[in-house]
Protein backbone atom coordinates (compact mmCIF):
# COMPACT_ATOMS: atom_id res chain seq x y z
CA UNK A 1 0.00 0.00 0.00
CA UNK A 2 2.92 2.31 -0.09
CA UNK A 3 6.07 3.29 -1.84
CA UNK A 4 9.63 2.06 -1.33
CA UNK A 5 10.69 5.31 0.23
CA UNK A 6 8.16 5.22 3.04
CA UNK A 7 8.89 1.56 3.66
CA UNK A 8 12.53 2.04 4.57
CA UNK A 9 11.64 5.02 6.74
CA UNK A 10 9.11 2.81 8.50
CA UNK A 11 11.70 0.19 9.28
CA UNK A 12 13.95 2.82 10.82
CA UNK A 13 11.13 4.12 13.00
CA UNK A 14 10.33 0.68 14.29
CA UNK A 15 13.93 -0.11 15.19
CA UNK A 16 14.24 1.41 18.69
CA UNK A 17 11.16 -0.36 20.05
CA UNK A 18 12.10 -3.66 18.48
CA UNK A 19 15.73 -3.54 19.59
CA UNK A 20 14.84 -2.59 23.17
CA UNK A 21 12.24 -5.31 23.55
CA UNK A 22 14.51 -7.85 21.94
CA UNK A 23 17.22 -6.98 24.45
CA UNK A 24 14.76 -6.98 27.33
CA UNK A 25 13.64 -10.43 26.33
CA UNK A 26 16.86 -12.11 25.27
CA UNK A 27 19.41 -10.87 27.80
CA UNK A 28 17.65 -11.89 31.02
CA UNK A 29 16.24 -15.00 29.43
CA UNK A 30 19.69 -16.18 28.39
CA UNK A 31 21.01 -15.42 31.85
CA UNK A 32 18.18 -17.34 33.52
CA UNK A 33 18.86 -20.31 31.28
CA UNK A 34 22.58 -20.04 32.04
CA UNK A 35 22.08 -19.95 35.82
CA UNK A 36 19.55 -22.76 35.71
CA UNK A 37 22.31 -25.18 34.76
CA UNK A 38 24.66 -24.02 37.53
CA UNK A 39 25.00 -24.47 41.22
CA UNK A 40 25.06 -20.81 42.13
CA UNK A 41 24.79 -19.59 45.71
CA UNK A 42 26.00 -15.96 45.87
CA UNK A 43 26.10 -15.91 49.68
CA UNK A 44 27.56 -19.39 50.15
CA UNK A 45 30.46 -19.75 47.78
CA UNK A 46 29.12 -18.19 44.60
CA UNK A 47 29.43 -20.05 41.32
CA UNK A 48 30.02 -23.73 42.12
CA UNK A 49 30.08 -25.02 38.57
CA UNK A 50 27.83 -26.71 36.06
CA UNK A 51 25.30 -29.22 37.31
CA UNK A 52 23.38 -30.14 34.19
CA UNK A 53 19.68 -30.67 34.79
CA UNK A 54 20.06 -31.17 38.51
CA UNK A 55 18.30 -27.89 39.36
CA UNK A 56 15.38 -28.82 37.16
CA UNK A 57 14.89 -32.20 38.80
CA UNK A 58 15.50 -30.78 42.27
CA UNK A 59 12.92 -28.07 41.73
CA UNK A 60 10.37 -30.61 40.56
CA UNK A 61 11.05 -33.08 43.36
CA UNK A 62 11.28 -30.58 46.20
CA UNK A 63 8.51 -30.96 48.75
CA UNK A 64 7.36 -27.40 48.09
CA UNK A 65 6.84 -27.80 44.35
CA UNK A 66 3.57 -29.69 43.98
CA UNK A 67 1.80 -27.82 46.79
CA UNK A 68 2.82 -24.58 45.09
CA UNK A 69 1.40 -25.75 41.77
CA UNK A 70 -1.78 -26.75 43.54
CA UNK A 71 -1.98 -23.39 45.30
CA UNK A 72 -1.42 -21.57 42.03
CA UNK A 73 -4.17 -23.53 40.31
CA UNK A 74 -6.63 -22.99 43.15
CA UNK A 75 -6.00 -19.26 43.28
CA UNK A 76 -6.09 -18.77 39.51
CA UNK A 77 -9.11 -21.07 39.06
CA UNK A 78 -10.99 -19.57 42.00
CA UNK A 79 -10.44 -15.99 40.95
CA UNK A 80 -11.34 -16.77 37.33
CA UNK A 81 -14.57 -18.52 38.29
CA UNK A 82 -15.64 -15.71 40.61
CA UNK A 83 -14.71 -12.83 38.34
CA UNK A 84 -16.18 -14.33 35.18
CA UNK A 85 -19.49 -15.45 36.69
CA UNK A 86 -20.01 -12.32 38.75
CA UNK A 87 -18.64 -10.26 35.87
CA UNK A 88 -21.26 -11.57 33.44
CA UNK A 89 -24.06 -10.98 35.93
CA UNK A 90 -22.81 -7.54 36.86
CA UNK A 91 -22.29 -6.51 33.24
CA UNK A 92 -25.81 -7.65 32.40
CA UNK A 93 -27.18 -5.67 35.32
CA UNK A 94 -25.22 -2.56 34.41
CA UNK A 95 -26.49 -2.79 30.86
CA UNK A 96 -30.10 -2.39 32.05
CA UNK A 97 -31.74 1.02 31.92
CA UNK A 98 -31.25 2.81 35.23
CA UNK A 99 -30.55 6.16 36.81
CA UNK A 100 -26.94 7.10 37.43
CA UNK A 101 -25.45 4.36 35.29
CA UNK A 102 -22.22 6.27 34.82
CA UNK A 103 -21.83 6.75 38.57
CA UNK A 104 -22.39 3.07 39.31
CA UNK A 105 -19.86 2.17 36.66
CA UNK A 106 -17.31 4.35 38.38
CA UNK A 107 -18.00 2.71 41.74
CA UNK A 108 -17.61 -0.76 40.26
CA UNK A 109 -14.38 0.01 38.40
CA UNK A 110 -12.63 1.73 41.30
CA UNK A 111 -10.93 -1.33 42.88
CA UNK A 112 -8.96 -1.90 39.70
CA UNK A 113 -7.10 1.35 40.25
CA UNK A 114 -6.10 0.58 43.81
CA UNK A 115 -2.47 -0.44 44.03
CA UNK A 116 -2.04 -4.09 45.02
CA UNK A 117 -0.13 -3.33 48.20
CA UNK A 118 -2.90 -1.03 49.40
CA UNK A 119 -5.71 -3.42 48.72
CA UNK A 120 -3.85 -6.30 50.31
CA UNK A 121 -3.10 -4.28 53.45
CA UNK A 122 -6.56 -2.81 53.75
CA UNK A 123 -8.20 -6.19 53.43
CA UNK A 124 -5.70 -7.84 55.74
CA UNK A 125 -6.01 -5.35 58.58
CA UNK A 126 -9.30 -3.57 58.33
CA UNK A 127 -11.49 -6.39 57.11
CA UNK A 128 -9.87 -9.72 57.89
CA UNK A 129 -8.27 -9.00 61.23
CA UNK A 130 -9.85 -11.44 63.70
CA UNK A 131 -10.11 -8.80 66.46
CA UNK A 132 -10.75 -5.45 64.85
CA UNK A 133 -11.63 -6.30 61.25
CA UNK A 134 -15.06 -5.41 59.92
CA UNK A 135 -15.76 -9.01 58.96
CA UNK A 136 -15.07 -10.05 62.56
CA UNK A 137 -17.65 -7.49 63.71
CA UNK A 138 -20.09 -8.85 61.18
CA UNK A 139 -19.59 -12.40 62.40
CA UNK A 140 -20.05 -11.30 66.01
CA UNK A 141 -23.21 -9.50 65.03
CA UNK A 142 -24.69 -12.86 64.09
CA UNK A 143 -23.24 -14.53 67.16
CA UNK A 144 -20.60 -16.50 65.31
CA UNK A 145 -16.95 -16.81 66.26
CA UNK A 146 -14.85 -14.58 64.00
CA UNK A 147 -12.66 -16.42 61.53
CA UNK A 148 -8.93 -15.96 61.50
CA UNK A 149 -9.08 -15.34 57.80
CA UNK A 150 -5.47 -15.28 56.75
CA UNK A 151 -4.41 -18.33 58.73
CA UNK A 152 -7.51 -20.52 58.90
CA UNK A 153 -8.91 -19.68 55.47
CA UNK A 154 -5.81 -18.31 53.88
CA UNK A 155 -6.49 -19.37 50.29
CA UNK A 156 -10.09 -18.21 50.42
CA UNK A 157 -8.90 -14.87 51.75
CA UNK A 158 -6.38 -14.39 49.00
CA UNK A 159 -8.93 -15.40 46.40
CA UNK A 160 -11.35 -12.85 47.86
CA UNK A 161 -8.80 -10.05 47.78
CA UNK A 162 -7.62 -10.79 44.27
CA UNK A 163 -11.16 -11.28 42.97
CA UNK A 164 -12.10 -7.90 44.37
CA UNK A 165 -9.25 -6.39 42.39
CA UNK A 166 -10.04 -8.16 39.14
CA UNK A 167 -13.84 -8.21 39.12
CA UNK A 168 -13.89 -4.63 37.77
CA UNK A 169 -11.68 -5.63 34.87
CA UNK A 170 -13.91 -8.56 33.92
CA UNK A 171 -17.06 -6.50 34.35
CA UNK A 172 -15.78 -3.60 32.29
CA UNK A 173 -14.72 -5.78 29.39
CA UNK A 174 -17.89 -7.87 29.42
CA UNK A 175 -19.98 -4.72 29.66
CA UNK A 176 -18.22 -3.30 26.61
CA UNK A 177 -18.89 -6.55 24.79
CA UNK A 178 -22.57 -6.59 25.78
CA UNK A 179 -22.99 -3.04 24.59
CA UNK A 180 -21.63 -3.97 21.19
CA UNK A 181 -24.44 -6.51 20.78
CA UNK A 182 -26.76 -5.33 18.07
CA UNK A 183 -30.08 -4.70 19.80
CA UNK A 184 -31.90 -5.66 16.61
CA UNK A 185 -30.69 -9.21 17.15
CA UNK A 186 -32.38 -9.29 20.53
CA UNK A 187 -35.50 -7.72 19.08
CA UNK A 188 -35.58 -10.30 16.32
CA UNK A 189 -35.30 -13.06 18.93
CA UNK A 190 -38.08 -11.42 20.89
CA UNK A 191 -40.27 -11.33 17.77
CA UNK A 192 -39.46 -14.99 17.32
CA UNK A 193 -40.95 -15.61 20.74
CA UNK A 194 -37.84 -16.15 22.89
CA UNK A 195 -38.35 -15.21 26.56
CA UNK A 196 -35.64 -13.11 28.32
CA UNK A 197 -33.79 -16.11 29.81
CA UNK A 198 -33.53 -17.78 26.41
CA UNK A 199 -32.54 -14.54 24.76
CA UNK A 200 -29.71 -14.32 27.27
CA UNK A 201 -28.72 -17.96 26.74
CA UNK A 202 -28.98 -18.06 22.96
CA UNK A 203 -27.97 -14.56 21.92
CA UNK A 204 -26.15 -12.65 24.66
CA UNK A 205 -23.98 -15.42 26.09
CA UNK A 206 -22.66 -16.68 22.72
CA UNK A 207 -21.97 -13.07 21.79
CA UNK A 208 -19.92 -12.78 24.99
CA UNK A 209 -17.95 -15.97 24.51
CA UNK A 210 -15.05 -14.22 22.84
CA UNK A 211 -14.84 -11.51 25.47
CA UNK A 212 -15.01 -14.17 28.20
CA UNK A 213 -12.12 -16.03 26.62
CA UNK A 214 -10.10 -12.85 26.45
CA UNK A 215 -10.86 -12.07 30.09
CA UNK A 216 -9.83 -15.57 31.13
CA UNK A 217 -6.58 -15.52 29.20
CA UNK A 218 -5.46 -12.04 30.20
CA UNK A 219 -6.34 -12.56 33.83
CA UNK A 220 -4.53 -15.89 33.82
CA UNK A 221 -1.35 -14.20 32.66
CA UNK A 222 -1.56 -11.64 35.45
CA UNK A 223 -2.81 -14.06 38.09
CA UNK A 224 -0.01 -16.55 37.47
CA UNK A 225 2.37 -13.92 38.72
CA UNK A 226 0.46 -12.24 41.56
CA UNK A 227 3.01 -11.19 44.07
CA UNK A 228 2.25 -8.18 46.24
CA UNK A 229 -1.00 -9.64 47.55
CA UNK A 230 0.84 -12.64 49.02
CA UNK A 231 3.98 -10.73 49.96
CA UNK A 232 1.99 -8.30 52.08
CA UNK A 233 -0.61 -10.62 53.63
CA UNK A 234 0.83 -14.04 54.45
CA UNK A 235 4.33 -13.84 53.06
CA UNK A 236 3.76 -17.25 51.56
CA UNK A 237 2.81 -18.92 54.82
CA UNK A 238 -0.35 -20.94 55.56
CA UNK A 239 -0.31 -22.74 52.22
CA UNK A 240 -0.42 -19.62 50.06
CA UNK A 241 2.91 -20.17 48.35
CA UNK A 242 2.26 -20.02 44.62
CA UNK A 243 4.74 -21.16 42.04
CA UNK A 244 6.01 -17.66 41.37
CA UNK A 245 6.24 -16.90 45.08
CA UNK A 246 8.22 -20.10 45.57
CA UNK A 247 10.64 -19.02 42.87
CA UNK A 248 10.88 -15.58 44.42
CA UNK A 249 11.80 -17.16 47.77
CA UNK A 250 14.42 -19.43 46.20
CA UNK A 251 16.02 -16.51 44.43
CA UNK A 252 15.89 -13.64 46.91
CA UNK A 253 15.32 -15.24 50.30
CA UNK A 254 17.42 -18.40 50.14
CA UNK A 255 19.66 -16.98 47.40
CA UNK A 256 19.75 -20.27 45.52
CA UNK A 257 19.96 -18.78 42.07
CA UNK A 258 20.41 -22.00 40.12
CA UNK A 259 17.36 -23.61 41.63
CA UNK A 260 15.28 -20.45 41.32
CA UNK A 261 16.29 -20.02 37.70
CA UNK A 262 15.21 -23.56 36.86
CA UNK A 263 11.87 -22.73 38.49
CA UNK A 264 11.78 -19.53 36.47
CA UNK A 265 12.16 -21.53 33.27
CA UNK A 266 9.20 -23.67 34.31
CA UNK A 267 7.15 -20.54 34.98
CA UNK A 268 8.09 -19.11 31.60
CA UNK A 269 7.00 -22.30 29.85
CA UNK A 270 3.72 -22.33 31.75
CA UNK A 271 3.01 -18.69 30.87
CA UNK A 272 3.83 -19.33 27.24
CA UNK A 273 1.28 -22.11 27.00
CA UNK A 274 -1.42 -19.68 28.12
CA UNK A 275 0.04 -16.96 25.95
CA UNK A 276 -0.23 -19.01 22.78
CA UNK A 277 -3.99 -19.29 23.20
CA UNK A 278 -4.36 -15.60 23.92
CA UNK A 279 -2.25 -14.63 20.94
CA UNK A 280 -4.37 -16.75 18.62
CA UNK A 281 -7.44 -14.80 19.60
CA UNK A 282 -5.75 -11.43 19.42
CA UNK A 283 -4.13 -12.40 16.13
CA UNK A 284 -7.45 -13.33 14.59
CA UNK A 285 -8.72 -9.93 15.52
CA UNK A 286 -5.83 -8.27 13.74
CA UNK A 287 -6.96 -9.66 10.43
CA UNK A 288 -10.49 -8.40 10.84
Amino acid sequence: MATQHSRSAARLMMAPAVVLLLGWMLVPLTMTLYFSFKKYLPLRGGDLGWVGFENYTRFLTSSAFWPSVQTTLIIVGGVLAITVILGVLLATLLNQPMWGQGAVRILVIAPFFVMPTVSALVWKNMFMDPNYGLLAHLWKLFGATPIEWLSQASLTSIIMIVSWQWLPFATLILLTAIQSLDSEQLEAAEMDGAPPIKRFGYITLPHLSRAITVVILIQTIFLLSIFAEIFVTTGGAFGTKTLSYLIFQRVLESQNIGLGSAGGVYAIILANIVAIFLMRIVGKNLDA
Binding site: M14, M25, P28, F35, M98, R210, A267
Partner: protein
Protein backbone atom coordinates in the same frame (compact mmCIF):
# COMPACT_ATOMS: atom_id res chain seq x y z
CA UNK B 1 -33.70 -0.69 22.59
CA UNK B 2 -35.93 2.03 21.37
CA UNK B 3 -38.60 1.08 23.85
CA UNK B 4 -39.36 2.66 27.18
CA UNK B 5 -39.09 0.44 30.22
CA UNK B 6 -41.53 0.84 33.03
CA UNK B 7 -40.43 3.25 35.71
CA UNK B 8 -40.88 0.54 38.30
CA UNK B 9 -38.48 -1.77 36.53
CA UNK B 10 -35.97 1.01 36.13
CA UNK B 11 -36.20 1.87 39.81
CA UNK B 12 -35.58 -1.75 40.71
CA UNK B 13 -32.53 -1.92 38.44
CA UNK B 14 -31.23 1.30 39.89
CA UNK B 15 -31.59 0.17 43.50
CA UNK B 16 -30.00 -3.19 42.78
CA UNK B 17 -27.10 -1.80 40.77
CA UNK B 18 -26.35 0.96 43.28
CA UNK B 19 -26.44 -1.60 46.10
CA UNK B 20 -23.88 -3.78 44.41
CA UNK B 21 -21.83 -0.84 43.24
CA UNK B 22 -21.57 0.52 46.77
CA UNK B 23 -20.73 -2.93 48.12
CA UNK B 24 -17.82 -3.22 45.69
CA UNK B 25 -16.69 0.30 46.43
CA UNK B 26 -17.12 -0.12 50.18
CA UNK B 27 -13.53 -1.13 51.06
CA UNK B 28 -12.28 2.06 49.44
CA UNK B 29 -14.96 4.15 51.09
CA UNK B 30 -14.20 2.55 54.45
CA UNK B 31 -10.51 3.29 54.03
CA UNK B 32 -11.22 6.92 53.25
CA UNK B 33 -13.62 7.24 56.20
CA UNK B 34 -11.18 5.57 58.58
CA UNK B 35 -8.42 7.92 57.54
CA UNK B 36 -10.38 10.75 59.15
CA UNK B 37 -10.93 8.94 62.46
CA UNK B 38 -8.78 8.89 65.55
CA UNK B 39 -6.95 5.61 66.13
CA UNK B 40 -9.37 4.82 68.96
CA UNK B 41 -12.47 5.38 66.82
CA UNK B 42 -10.91 3.36 64.02
CA UNK B 43 -10.98 0.18 66.07
CA UNK B 44 -14.14 0.97 68.04
CA UNK B 45 -16.50 -1.92 68.66
CA UNK B 46 -19.09 -1.74 67.20
CA UNK B 47 -17.53 0.10 64.23
CA UNK B 48 -18.51 3.71 63.65
CA UNK B 49 -19.50 4.67 60.12
CA UNK B 50 -20.04 8.39 59.83
CA UNK B 51 -21.04 9.69 63.25
CA UNK B 52 -17.52 10.45 64.49
CA UNK B 53 -15.41 13.50 64.96
CA UNK B 54 -13.48 14.09 61.74
CA UNK B 55 -9.80 14.73 62.12
CA UNK B 56 -6.83 15.35 59.85
CA UNK B 57 -4.29 14.22 62.47
CA UNK B 58 -3.51 10.99 60.62
CA UNK B 59 -2.55 12.82 57.49
CA UNK B 60 -0.24 15.15 59.35
CA UNK B 61 1.20 12.21 61.27
CA UNK B 62 1.92 10.23 58.11
CA UNK B 63 3.41 13.24 56.38
CA UNK B 64 5.64 14.05 59.32
CA UNK B 65 6.86 10.59 60.09
CA UNK B 66 7.54 8.84 56.85
CA UNK B 67 8.81 11.31 54.38
CA UNK B 68 5.77 10.61 52.29
CA UNK B 69 6.74 13.34 49.85
CA UNK B 70 9.82 11.46 48.74
CA UNK B 71 7.87 8.28 48.01
CA UNK B 72 5.25 10.28 46.16
CA UNK B 73 7.92 12.08 44.16
CA UNK B 74 9.51 8.72 43.28
CA UNK B 75 6.16 7.38 42.13
CA UNK B 76 5.55 10.42 39.97
CA UNK B 77 9.01 10.34 38.42
CA UNK B 78 8.95 6.60 37.79
CA UNK B 79 5.39 6.33 36.50
CA UNK B 80 5.52 9.54 34.50
CA UNK B 81 9.04 9.04 33.23
CA UNK B 82 8.55 5.47 32.11
CA UNK B 83 5.33 6.38 30.33
CA UNK B 84 6.73 9.39 28.50
CA UNK B 85 9.88 7.51 27.53
CA UNK B 86 7.74 4.60 26.34
CA UNK B 87 5.55 6.86 24.25
CA UNK B 88 8.52 8.56 22.62
CA UNK B 89 9.82 5.17 21.55
CA UNK B 90 6.44 3.71 20.67
CA UNK B 91 4.95 6.51 18.55
CA UNK B 92 7.26 6.04 15.55
CA UNK B 93 6.98 2.26 15.80
CA UNK B 94 3.18 2.27 16.00
CA UNK B 95 3.00 4.87 13.24
CA UNK B 96 5.01 2.80 10.83
CA UNK B 97 3.12 -0.40 11.66
CA UNK B 98 -0.24 1.26 11.21
CA UNK B 99 0.47 3.17 8.02
CA UNK B 100 3.21 1.25 6.27
CA UNK B 101 2.22 -2.30 7.18
CA UNK B 102 4.33 -5.09 5.78
CA UNK B 103 3.82 -8.81 5.89
CA UNK B 104 5.79 -8.98 9.11
CA UNK B 105 3.90 -6.25 10.94
CA UNK B 106 1.47 -8.67 12.47
CA UNK B 107 4.23 -11.00 13.60
CA UNK B 108 6.13 -8.13 15.19
CA UNK B 109 3.02 -7.00 17.05
CA UNK B 110 2.36 -10.49 18.31
CA UNK B 111 5.95 -10.92 19.36
CA UNK B 112 5.86 -7.65 21.29
CA UNK B 113 2.76 -8.89 23.04
CA UNK B 114 4.52 -12.13 23.93
CA UNK B 115 7.31 -10.27 25.74
CA UNK B 116 4.64 -8.81 27.99
CA UNK B 117 3.77 -12.33 29.04
CA UNK B 118 7.17 -13.27 30.38
CA UNK B 119 6.67 -13.96 34.08
CA UNK B 120 8.69 -11.37 35.93
CA UNK B 121 9.84 -13.82 38.54
CA UNK B 122 11.53 -15.87 35.85
CA UNK B 123 13.97 -13.09 35.08
CA UNK B 124 14.14 -11.51 38.54
CA UNK B 125 17.69 -12.52 39.35
CA UNK B 126 19.27 -11.59 36.01
CA UNK B 127 17.70 -8.16 36.19
CA UNK B 128 18.75 -7.83 39.81
CA UNK B 129 22.30 -8.78 38.86
CA UNK B 130 22.38 -6.46 35.85
CA UNK B 131 21.13 -3.63 38.03
CA UNK B 132 23.95 -4.20 40.52
CA UNK B 133 26.53 -4.37 37.73
CA UNK B 134 25.21 -1.21 36.12
CA UNK B 135 24.93 0.50 39.48
CA UNK B 136 21.26 1.32 39.02
CA UNK B 137 19.77 -0.83 41.76
CA UNK B 138 17.50 1.30 43.94
CA UNK B 139 17.63 4.23 41.54
CA UNK B 140 14.76 5.96 39.81
CA UNK B 141 16.55 5.65 36.48
CA UNK B 142 16.69 1.87 36.75
CA UNK B 143 13.08 1.50 37.75
CA UNK B 144 11.96 3.93 35.06
CA UNK B 145 13.70 1.82 32.43
CA UNK B 146 12.23 -1.45 33.68
CA UNK B 147 8.70 -0.11 33.89
CA UNK B 148 9.06 1.46 30.46
CA UNK B 149 10.09 -1.89 29.05
CA UNK B 150 7.32 -3.92 30.66
CA UNK B 151 4.71 -1.45 29.46
CA UNK B 152 6.19 -0.78 26.02
CA UNK B 153 4.20 -3.57 24.33
CA UNK B 154 0.94 -2.17 25.70
CA UNK B 155 1.88 1.34 24.64
CA UNK B 156 2.76 0.21 21.11
CA UNK B 157 -0.45 -1.78 20.88
CA UNK B 158 -2.69 0.99 22.12
CA UNK B 159 -1.13 3.55 19.82
CA UNK B 160 -1.29 1.12 16.92
CA UNK B 161 -5.00 0.61 17.55
CA UNK B 162 -5.60 4.37 17.61
CA UNK B 163 -3.45 5.08 14.56
CA UNK B 164 -5.26 2.37 12.63
CA UNK B 165 -8.43 4.39 13.05
CA UNK B 166 -6.97 7.44 11.32
CA UNK B 167 -8.03 7.09 7.68
CA UNK B 168 -5.08 6.44 5.39
CA UNK B 169 -6.56 8.78 2.78
CA UNK B 170 -5.90 11.76 5.00
CA UNK B 171 -2.21 10.96 5.15
CA UNK B 172 -2.18 10.40 1.40
CA UNK B 173 -3.86 13.75 0.95
CA UNK B 174 -1.08 15.32 3.00
CA UNK B 175 1.51 13.60 0.84
CA UNK B 176 -0.23 14.87 -2.30
CA UNK B 177 -0.32 18.33 -0.73
CA UNK B 178 3.43 18.26 -0.57
CA UNK B 179 4.04 17.41 3.07
CA UNK B 180 7.30 15.61 3.79
CA UNK B 181 7.32 12.69 6.20
CA UNK B 182 8.32 15.03 9.00
CA UNK B 183 5.65 17.58 8.15
CA UNK B 184 3.10 14.82 7.82
CA UNK B 185 3.86 13.67 11.37
CA UNK B 186 3.95 17.20 12.81
CA UNK B 187 0.97 18.81 11.11
CA UNK B 188 -1.41 15.94 10.43
CA UNK B 189 -0.69 12.80 12.39
CA UNK B 190 0.22 14.18 15.78
CA UNK B 191 -2.74 16.56 16.15
CA UNK B 192 -5.10 13.81 15.03
CA UNK B 193 -3.52 11.27 17.33
CA UNK B 194 -3.41 13.42 20.44
CA UNK B 195 -6.58 12.00 22.00
CA UNK B 196 -5.24 8.47 21.50
CA UNK B 197 -1.82 9.37 22.83
CA UNK B 198 -3.42 11.04 25.84
CA UNK B 199 -5.42 7.99 26.80
CA UNK B 200 -2.42 5.72 26.28
CA UNK B 201 -0.46 8.02 28.55
CA UNK B 202 -3.17 7.88 31.18
CA UNK B 203 -3.55 4.13 31.25
CA UNK B 204 0.17 3.55 31.39
CA UNK B 205 0.70 6.00 34.21
CA UNK B 206 -1.87 3.97 36.12
CA UNK B 207 -0.22 0.65 35.33
CA UNK B 208 3.22 1.95 36.22
CA UNK B 209 1.96 3.63 39.40
CA UNK B 210 0.45 0.38 40.66
CA UNK B 211 3.23 -1.94 39.53
CA UNK B 212 4.20 -3.94 42.60
CA UNK B 213 6.75 -6.53 41.67
CA UNK B 214 9.73 -4.66 40.31
CA UNK B 215 9.08 -1.65 42.49
CA UNK B 216 9.23 -3.85 45.59
CA UNK B 217 12.19 -5.95 44.52
CA UNK B 218 14.48 -3.42 42.90
CA UNK B 219 14.27 -0.61 45.44
CA UNK B 220 15.29 -0.16 49.02
CA UNK B 221 15.39 3.28 50.54
CA UNK B 222 16.26 5.80 47.87
CA UNK B 223 14.04 5.08 44.92
CA UNK B 224 11.11 3.36 46.62
CA UNK B 225 7.75 4.60 45.31
CA UNK B 226 4.38 4.54 47.06
CA UNK B 227 3.83 0.81 46.55
CA UNK B 228 6.85 0.16 48.77
CA UNK B 229 5.82 2.90 51.16
CA UNK B 230 2.51 1.13 51.77
CA UNK B 231 4.12 -2.28 51.95
CA UNK B 232 6.24 -0.96 54.83
CA UNK B 233 3.01 -0.68 56.83
CA UNK B 234 2.49 -4.43 56.61
CA UNK B 235 3.95 -5.17 60.01
CA UNK B 236 3.55 -3.49 63.39
CA UNK B 237 2.41 -0.14 62.05
CA UNK B 238 -0.45 -1.81 60.21
CA UNK B 239 -2.28 -1.93 63.49
CA UNK B 240 -2.64 1.80 63.39
CA UNK B 241 -5.69 1.63 61.14
CA UNK B 242 -6.29 5.32 60.85
CA UNK B 243 -2.74 6.07 59.79
CA UNK B 244 -2.68 3.11 57.43
CA UNK B 245 -5.88 4.46 55.91
CA UNK B 246 -4.51 7.95 55.55
CA UNK B 247 -1.39 6.65 53.85
CA UNK B 248 -3.45 4.39 51.58
CA UNK B 249 -5.83 7.17 50.65
CA UNK B 250 -2.96 9.40 49.68
CA UNK B 251 -1.41 6.63 47.62
CA UNK B 252 -4.51 5.73 45.64
CA UNK B 253 -6.33 9.06 45.36
CA UNK B 254 -4.41 10.51 42.41
CA UNK B 255 -4.72 7.32 40.41
CA UNK B 256 -8.40 6.80 41.18
CA UNK B 257 -9.09 10.17 39.64
CA UNK B 258 -6.96 9.45 36.57
CA UNK B 259 -8.48 5.98 36.29
CA UNK B 260 -12.02 7.26 36.15
CA UNK B 261 -11.04 9.46 33.22
CA UNK B 262 -9.46 6.60 31.34
CA UNK B 263 -12.08 3.90 31.82
CA UNK B 264 -13.20 3.98 28.20
CA UNK B 265 -9.70 3.38 26.85
CA UNK B 266 -9.02 0.79 29.50
CA UNK B 267 -10.86 -1.95 27.67
CA UNK B 268 -9.20 -1.77 24.29
CA UNK B 269 -5.87 -1.02 25.93
CA UNK B 270 -5.86 -3.98 28.27
CA UNK B 271 -7.25 -6.48 25.80
CA UNK B 272 -4.86 -5.42 23.04
CA UNK B 273 -7.79 -4.41 20.90
CA UNK B 274 -9.44 -7.83 21.14
CA UNK B 275 -12.49 -6.28 22.78
CA UNK B 276 -13.68 -2.84 21.72
Amino acid sequence: MARSTTTQRKALNTAFAWGIGLLIFFPILWTILTSFKTEATAIADPPVFVGFEWTLENYTAVLERSNYARFLWNSIIIAGGSTILGIIIAVPAAWSMAFVPSKRTKDILMWMLSTKMLPAVGVLYPIYLLFIKLGILDTRVGLTIVLMLINLPIIVWMLYTYFKEIPGEILEAARMDGASLREEVIYILTPMAIPGIASTLLLNVILAWNEAFWTLNLTAAKAAPLTAFIASYSSPEGLFYAKLSAASTMAIAPILVLGWFSQKQLVSGLTFGAVK
